[in-house]
Symmetry: C2
Subunit: 368 residues, 2 copies
């Protein structure tokens, strides 16, 4: 099940608010989705995810297919039950990891042969297989199997890949056994406008629940990303949710919302947390730096997250320097809370029709 | 401040219940104390420690002296404030780690010269220095500086060391700047009864708040430990708390309580948690084993901890196998909850004067 309603659209740009109704509950958009790669958002419990306001999380099809695998996941009754998360889940198609992580991959029209990055075992994922996996994971929103073309890539490679992704999309739609799980098609086309246009028009011609934008934020310059993003969303229907894959830095989230994007995800906030970095309204704090050793202020005095309400920069810096698990926990809580809070503020600013003003305020205080 | 009141003593053995009044609150004994080595009980927040019923935690003087060090700890206003823990803290003397972890240590009458196990830097800890550190840490209970003699050790070495520990105790008492922090003397004497008796009598002759038993559970056979423990406690005053250092397996806790011990600590439950092992009333579960991969029961169906109320063995086993932080978190919560709950049950059994019966029941169900 998926119902989407656009509620308020900015008078100055494509930014909009909306509500997504899914099997496991409602999601207010625009939204940032924490990534629970292997049935766990790293360092977080499900209750903590709820406490910081997570409405929907991601699961990675590739990782969950390899471990714990189909048999355990089926017996558990799907991903929600397995990890005890009762709110919506979005699963990716596995395509991104097959292409970026696996070894000795060979792409054919039929699908992708590859070896596991863990133990070298041989596997094959096709559009049908990806949907099968997502069916037994039981996610609220599934992604069609696609190839995420790296940057840079030649025009011919990008075109061939994009056309194959379109053919794979048809097979995904045909193969899906559970109409109650929403299926999104993914727009590709690399950095080439005509390919983006073609992919967007053909993908959105299918009667799907929503549409994703893949293959952006893969290493290209920011200007190029922003231009292609705006270029792409103009070909996407207004009444369907738009999901920009793999974006999670504050500025990219603002650009995405400005271009009319409703959903985004990224491992960035949790990854840099484990690496000792906090994000705040005043910019990044590399807390492992010695300058914080006697700084007894919270990460952000105006933040209401558990870390900021209870602990000092000096304490967190100490935890990082002695490699305590609590460091990763506190910084993950803070960074996810920050991004979810930021998206809430962005939503309010759209409701008040002052999104661009809020964007400018944020950029000034963040230091972009 | 320390007040101790024995409340109920078993009619069959030396087991007893009591209440310790400390600067940061009351502690019901017998008690197991989680170890917060470097200003953090690994993988746990302070709120989680309270939720599972922790009344007092340990801090390690050696580790905290090296990192974050005196300057930061003083500016933070002590260990409680630094880590935001508002209940009692007990600090060890640093002796155990100086002798077991440091490099190139040289014991003199004055104190111990050693190199840090982290960076090889040179340090010197004397009885006075140990008390200075514990004074600025601000713990509720401090330990006098001692040498924990390894097992096996010769009679002569053990005797010389024990006599020096007694001389160091006098210096600790003389040097202590804060009468409001309770100071415990540590009984040593290795595996030699006459040395234990001598150490116990001389140590307890000082007017101290309580007394610890060190140098047991250091690798000697269980029978020997139990015999020496019972032998030692008979020379300890009834009206002062007795602390057995470094004990945390369920059977050793029962033996300790039976011998009249009030307090114990150990890193065992948190260490084996991070290694994928759970402790329960039905014995140990090595959850990383493949046999749990499709076991959708909780670790212990009768346990009320967060892990058991929310997650299955299969899920935790998956988290272990993919090396997720949440595995260590859930198992640490469970293992600490189990030991604190066990001590609560032990306390009740003493109150009901059925401690030995309860011990037998537990040994039967645990499988000893």
């Amino acid at each position: 099940m998926l119902e989407f309603k656009v509620e308020k659209t900015s008078s100055e740009c494509k930014a909009r608010t909306g509500t997504l109704k899914l099997n496991h509950g409602e999601v207010k958009t625009p939204i940032f989705m924490p990534v629970g790669t292997r049935a766990s958002v790293r360092a977080m419990t499900c209750d903590e995810l709820k406490e910081i306001g997570s409405q929907i999380i991601l699961g990675n099809t590739y990782h969950l297919y390899l471990r714990p695998g189909e048999e355990i996941m089926r017996e558990a009754g799907g991903l929600n039950k397995f990890m005890n998360w009762d709110k919506p889940i979005l699963t990716d198609s596995g395509g991104f990891q097959v292409f970026s992580l696996s070894r000795q991959r060979k792409i054919t029209e039929e699908g992708v042969h590859f070896r596991s990055h863990i133990d070298g075992s041989k596997h094959f994922i096709s559009p049908e297989k990806s949907i099968d996996i997502q069916n037994f994971l039981g996610s609220d929103i599934m992604m069609a199997f696609d190839e995420c073309v790296p940057y840079p890539a030649s025009y011919d490679y990008t075109k061939d890949s994009m056309l194959r992704t379109l053919r794979w999309l048809e097979r995904c739609i045909k193969h899906n056994k559970n109409d109650n799980q929403a299926l999104f098609g993914i727009i590709q086309g690399g950095m080439y406008k005509d390919l983006r246009k073609y992919s967007a028009e053909k993908t959105t011609a299918f009667d799907l629940s929503g549409f994703s934008i893949g293959g952006l934020s893969v290493g290209e310059p920011k200007d190029m990303m922003v231009e292609l993003l705006h270029y792409t969303t103009q070909f996407m229907p207004i009444n369907k949710p738009r999901y920009l894959m793999g974006v999670g830095s504050p500025d990219y989230l603002f650009e995405a919302v400005e271009a009319g994007v409703d959903m985004a995800d990224c491992v960035l906030p949790t990854r840099i947390a484990r690496n000792g970095t906090a994000i705040s309204y005043n910019g990044k704090l590399v807390l492992k730096n010695a300058k914080y050793r006697k700084d007894f202020r919270p990460i952000d005095e105006n933040c209401s997250c558990y870390a900021c309400k209870n602990h000092s920069r000096a304490y967190i810096r100490h935890l990082i320097s002695v490699n305590e698990i609590l460091a990763a926990r506190l910084l993950t809580i803070h960074n996810l809370y920050f991004l979810l809070d930021l998206m809430k503020n962005i939503r309010s600013s759209i409701e008040e029709d002052r999104f661009l003003e809020y964007k400018k305020e944020f950029y000034d205080s963040y230091g972009y």
